[in-house]
């Protein structure tokens, strides 16, 4: 593609740094789970770290950061429908008047 050998070699340092960051992130997640922030905040924190890690993988390892418009469009729709599936389902579920038969 457009990359030439020399500018690939520049990327390599980047890959190693990202890799280090990912491992660090893993350790952080585990440590964070031992601190009791109250259940909700623990969940939020863990998911935030995971999202950051996932973004690093997607952006750098998967070269999304230098990818073409087309792929963004596909992924954009996918993300939208995924979020729709998740949130609408959960919203619908909780718009029900009764969830269990125990009273």
């Amino acid at each position: 593609m457009s990359e030439h050998p020399y500018d690939i070699s520049k990327h390599i340092r980047g890959y190693l740094i990202i890799g280090g960051a990912l491992i660090l992130g893993t350790v952080l997640t585990v440590l964070a789970s031992f601190i009791d922030l109250g259940h909700h905040w623990n969940v939020v924190l863990a998911l935030v770290i995971a999202t950051v890690k996932a973004s690093l993988v997607a952006l750098y390892f998967m070269h999304l950061i230098s990818e073409k418009q087309l792929i963004y469009t596909v992924l954009g729709f996918t993300a939208f429908f995924f979020i729709g599936l998740m949130f609408i389902t959960i919203a619908a579920y909780h718009d029900h008047p009764a969830l269990t038969t125990t009273n």
């Binding site: 718009d95 029900h96 008047p97 009764a98 969830l99 269990t100 038969t101 125990t102 009273n103």
Partner: protein, 256 residues
Amino acid sequence: MMDFFSKILFLPVLAGENGQAVDDLIIYVHWLMILLFVGWFSYFVYTLWRFNVKRHPKADHVGVRSHASSYIEIAVVVAELVLLIGFAIPMWAKASNVTKLPDYKDATTIQIVAQQFAWNARYAGKDGVFGKQDMTQVAENNLFGVRADDANGKDDVQVLNEIHVPVGKPIICQVSSKDVIHSFKVIALRVTQDAIPGMRIPCWFKATKEGRYQINCAQLCGNGHSSMSGGFLVVESQEAYDKWLTSKTGGAASFE
């Protein structure tokens, strides 16, 4: 006019108060549908005749230039919006509202639990309070999961298939199922509610005519789905209903 449409659409007899809203909506939508269909269909037949290859051997290069179609489309949008906002959404709130029920104090509450392939109903009995339930205690002889340790449950009434309710009074049914999904449907009252195991979903109706109504199971529930027709909703006067309930109270402990 409404009656006439109700007839040509083959809507069945109506004996429930909320049902009027349902029927009205069905009729309004069908007006729109018939209008659209007849309009387009006449146009369609005319075009096929008018532009037949024999009558019109050379096609025009430019087609329709007028904006008629846009106006029609806009009209359809408006009509649908009116139906939706003016009727459908409020009617859902009224006809089968599961969130805004009539006051429990004014209503008769019954629990309905479907099973393969029959309908169980449970009444609160004289004290008007249901005994507590716990679904982990469900058993063959206790399919409402009634807890034996709750005194309120002592006078509860439980019946199979013959469900009596008073006429002219709001009835709240808490619908559930013990095995698979069924659907509680009384056609003449225009009430339908899926009976889903693990959930207890309220729905309500007010019967306007006394009678013995067929209860339909509207959801495929196994090989007995088509023969789950033994359930009847008996709508009777308040006195008759009270008498019936008292006559049943003796056997309250039927689940034991």
